[in-house]
Assembly symmetry: C2
Homo-oligomer: 264 residues x 2
């Protein structure tokens, strides 16, 4: 299970303040705690700094790479920002994200191919918000085609089926889970990834919904996730979800997490 750790995001007020104030120690610490908590990629986002996103993101990248050896997930829709950051990276990153919109697709895929980057592809086009399972799977097929045509290997593609809020779309989680199951079967080698915050938007006890959805989605084959690995109940649900989904032989990883005090 690949974990892209989401805390260094400028939509969080404290992170935006740290970027604003060039508080490097805050950013480095966020990188360290997520690394220790089991992240595989550290997501970095400076999207709140409109007009100045590239400069801010370069500084964040520098701070994070000073604190961790993990590769980064470059979180921007803007090909120019991604292109500007790529030369700084010490390891091939994940690019978060492309959609089927031509400008974004055509701007980003050549960069991903040239740098050996993993790419998150959202099931979203200019024409439709894919709400049904069928629409999500259809857009996933288009992503597979576009990405492989651009020279990015299928196993570097992480398809995000997109999850709408349950509060307004009661079928949203099931549609995403069924899409994950079908995508993993129809395109052997591709990966699926999800963020967990949309699903619970507008509901109470959001983290309960988030971790319940995560564990259920893992049982459908979800093999990557964007989350905060320092969220203890969420991390515990992830480990339990993998054991339940027969993806943790003899629950050895689950038991190791227990011994490390991370299930309680």
């Amino acid at each position: 299970m690949l974990i892209a750790a989401e805390r260094i995001n400028s939509s969080r007020k404290r992170v935006a303040q740290a970027i604003e104030a060039q508080d490097g120690e805050f950013i480095r610490n966020e990188a360290r705690i997520q690394t220790e908590a089991g992240a595989d990629y550290i997501d970095v986002n400076a999207g709140a700094f409109v007009g100045n996103e590239l400069e801010c993101l370069k500084w964040v990248v520098e701070m994070v790479q000073a604190a961790t050896k993990l590769p980064l997930s470059i979180d921007s829709p803007d090909p120019a920002v991604i292109e500007g950051v790529l030369p700084l990276l010490k390891r091939p990153p994940m690019i978060n994200s492309i959609t089927l919109e031509p400008a974004r697709l055509n701007g980003i895929l050549p960069l991903a191919a040239a740098h050996g980057a993993k790419v998150i592809g959202l099931c979203q086009s200019e024409e439709i918000m894919a709400e049904s399972t069928d629409d999500k799977v259809r857009l996933a097929g288009q992503l597979v085609e576009s990405v492989t045509r651009a020279g990015v290997p299928l196993n570097n593609l992480y398809i995000d089926p997109l999850v709408y809020p349950l509060a307004t779309h009661p079928q949203a989680a099931m549609a995403a889970m069924e899409a994950i199951e079908r995508i993993m079967k129809e395109y052997a080698g591709v990966h699926t990834i999800c963020g967990l915050t949309n699903i619970s938007y507008g509901l109470p006890e959001r983290r309960l919904i988030n971790r319940t959805f995560l564990a259920a989605a893992i049982s459908r084959g979800l093999d990557a996730v964007i989350l905060d690995p320092t969220d203890a109940p969420l991390f515990a649900a992830l480990k339990a979800g993998l054991a339940v989904a027969a993806r943790d032989d003899y629950s050895m990883d689950y038991i190791a997490a227990f011994r490390a005090g991370r299930l309680g």
Copy 2:
């Protein structure tokens, strides 16, 4: 979602002591707290009293019916015990349980048909312990045939796919979940039910595994469960699982549970 509440079971030491001492207030209180916590059926078991099960169970039934208006789930493999208890019941019960073993099947089904009882059918025969999805679904088909032939309507049958411990059977939860999904599709009108304790046998933080499995199984169509409704995190996972599974329109029941202070 039908909840059969499991606390009044003589395998619990405190319950066995209460039966032994004819401590009616203890039993009545167990019935009351489970009723208030959202039970649909109160399971009663006196199986620990070998040779004296019927007399003990009759007493338990009397105590429980004095404390709640809910129907009972009569938890015994013994047709004679079930037959002896049935005349005392104020409402049609659930019978927990039959298997495909002829003595149990032929002893219990006529009683169920005559009393309009619901029946839990375990995916277990004399020949096999059904560990694979295919075996579970095959035995489910045999249960459907036997039960309907005996005059019990299909919608009074609750099929338990049986869940083996993950610690020894890493595929156990997935096999059960996939069986639930197939059984609910192939036999429209039938129900599925599970207990939650086997799955986590031998693992640490058992309740985390139990509730993770429950939520994932709900997303496969599980529509009944044997559990302790007073277990707060388990009850919260149940409600979140129903919302995620698109079985709680606009999460209204989830929000009601939040307002009642039952998600925290």
